[in-house]
């Protein structure tokens, strides 16, 4: 009897052990998450049970999860978090989501994790960001991946990596963000750079499509950036580490109809920016109606893109003309072989704007190119030289041609900011893949705010 009881107890113990252990797939422990019937009913609960990221995969079944997920540290290196179906069906929703009694600020917030993969997830309605991977100063987040994800209507950024090296954001969608749909920021300088791949994404109806403060080694290709305030905006700011933004590529993208006047009163998206600073007490706002903005960029290649239907400029480049000590300098950027204005059927007001600051910038082989000249003190060959740029072109300093800088200042200082649209040249766009141009939507009238 005792023997039989002993055997029964041992069997029970074995069953219990198997039940308690996560299932295994391809050498990884599987942590299944679903609303009902799985071991974990929240992603955070599953992540909290991960002992070693490289041995683990968190699989999320279709459903809407009102939670914010947060984890940090290298024990999570190489963790995979994935929807089992498409992002359309696997939703992390920030509405009423809480972390430790506080409103959850981000969909997934991972700090100091290398090789993290987040796939087939839709993060929406978080006050701050959708998917967010970053590293503390002195730490790292090498080689992250965000594949087939969606992000919508998060307060600041959709798919967001900061202080990381390498990595990729591919086959995703991002829309409705108060700053940018996709963001790569604060890339540490590297001797043998690991590039970040941003490809095959559709990014629309954001304040900015791509933004990258002090980003480097970013290859942005084969994406669509459309209906944003501005499409692709690498930029340099002194408030963040590793100035300037440098050594990137923007190639083979479709960058069009970036005429989202989100400053209008009925805009579904509000900018989270209070402005980029002030000049004589007037606020400097983000510019709108532009395809590519290289702000304080060094060594970017803009090549083989289709850039059309942007009501201000197709591609613009300039330094921070307000600060003689700035590292936001317009140097060695090349706009080459782009197809501007869709063969004349959907033009940009001007294909290119350059402030004429610094040097090494050049324009070559672009189809149907028009160059903005605003009471410029220097000739076109000085402001828009062909490649390679002669040393005589450009002012060689942070402040560009006075006429060009004056126009840029007028534009970004427009008051109210929605009145930037007064400088646009509008036209009706021919159809493109059945999409609706954002400039055909009614977001109310541009009125000066009462003093």
């Amino acid at each position: 009897m005792k023997v039989r009881l002993g055997i029964a107890a041992a069997l029970l113990a074995m069953v219990a052990a198997v039940w308690a252990a996560p299932a295994s797939a391809k050498g990884r422990d599987v942590f299944k998450v679903c609303k009902h019937g799985c071991k974990y009913d929240s992603v955070q609960k599953a992540v909290d049970k991960v002992k070693k990221g490289k041995n683990s995969i968190v699989k999320i079944k279709p459903g809407t999860y009102h939670e914010g997920v947060i984890f940090r540290g290298h024990k999570y290196d190489d963790l995979i978090i994935t929807g089992t179906k498409s992002a359309k069906k696997t939703i992390l929703n920030g509405k009423n989501a809480r972390i430790q009694g506080q409103p959850a600020q981000n969909g997934i917030d991972a700090t100091n994790v290398d090789g993290l993969k987040m796939n087939k997830l839709w993060t929406k309605n978080y006050p701050t960001n959708g998917l967010f991977v970053h590293a503390d100063p002195g730490d790292h987040c090498h080689g992250f991946a965000m594949v087939k994800d969606r992000a919508s209507f998060n307060g600041s950024y959709g798919l967001f990596a900061k202080h990381c090296t390498g990595g990729k954001i591919t086959d995703g969608k991002a829309w409705g963000h108060g700053d940018s749909g996709i963001y790569i920021g604060e890339t540490p300088p590297q001797k043998n750079p690991k590039w970040t791949d941003i490809s095959n994404n559709k990014v629309y109806e954001n304040v900015l499509g791509y933004s990258g403060t002090n980003s480097k080694y970013v290859d942005i290709h084969d994406n669509w950036f459309y209906n944003n305030g501005a499409g692709v905006v690498p930029n340099t700011l002194s408030s963040e580490l590793f100035q300037p933004n440098a050594d990137g590529k923007i190639r083979n993208n479709k960058i069009f109809w970036n005429n989202f006047n989100y400053f209008l009163p009925k805009s579904p998206v509000q900018t989270v920016s209070g402005g980029l600073g002030t000049i004589n007490g007037r606020t400097v706002n983000y510019p709108t109606g532009i395809g590519v903005v290289l702000f304080g960029s060094d060594g970017w290649l803009v090549k083989d893109n289709d850039i059309f239907g942007n009501f201000m400029w197709g591609g613009a480049s300039f330094s921070d003309g307000t600060d003689p000590n700035t590292q936001a300098l317009n140097i060695d950027n090349r706009f080459v072989d782009n197809n501007m204005g869709r063969n004349g059927t959907d033009k940009n007001q001007f294909d290119f704007f350059n402030d004429g600051s610094m040097g090494g910038n050049c324009w070559q082989g672009n189809k149907s190119s028009t160059f903005a000249m605003y009471n410029a003190a220097n000739p076109k060959s000085f402001i828009y030289p062909t490649c390679p740029a002669p040393k005589s072109a450009g002012t060689g300093r942070f402040f560009g041609d006075s006429g060009q800088v004056g126009e840029l200042a007028n534009y970004v200082l427009s008051d109210p900011p929605c009145s930037q649209q007064n400088e646009w040249v509008r036209h009706k766009h021919p159809d493109f893949k059945g999409l609706t141009p954002i400039d055909t939507k009614d977001f109310g009238k541009c009125k000066k705010a009462p003093q």
Partner: protein, 132 residues
Amino acid sequence: MQEGAPVRALIRIGVAAALIALAVGALAATGAASPFAKAKTEKVKVLDDFYKPDNVKIKKNKKVTWKWGQDFNTHNVTLKKGPKGVKKSKFTSQTSSAEGFKFTKKFKKPGKYNFYCTIHPDVMKMTVKVKG
């Protein structure tokens, strides 16, 4: 008899006051909120890109609340260095850009706490000094 009544009343009032004082003392000792003496919480604004004030002095067991102001950058409050035995993770906020978001911490251990924003580490730093 009538002459002694005011004395007895005074004694009763004295006893009641002593009991109230004891109760308040007990509440304070357990850390529970006292209805008579609400603990003052120091407030710090999280702004673009600085904390205001950036130097706070408090007594042990007091709280500090950080409140995010109108800004477009994402910020956090992260303990860089604190007294021995204090867990950094217990003093780390979420990263947020949402105006009005709050992060409150009670400081039980005296010493110097150095905080920073990991997103803006060069410019966003502050200190909380806790006296015993």
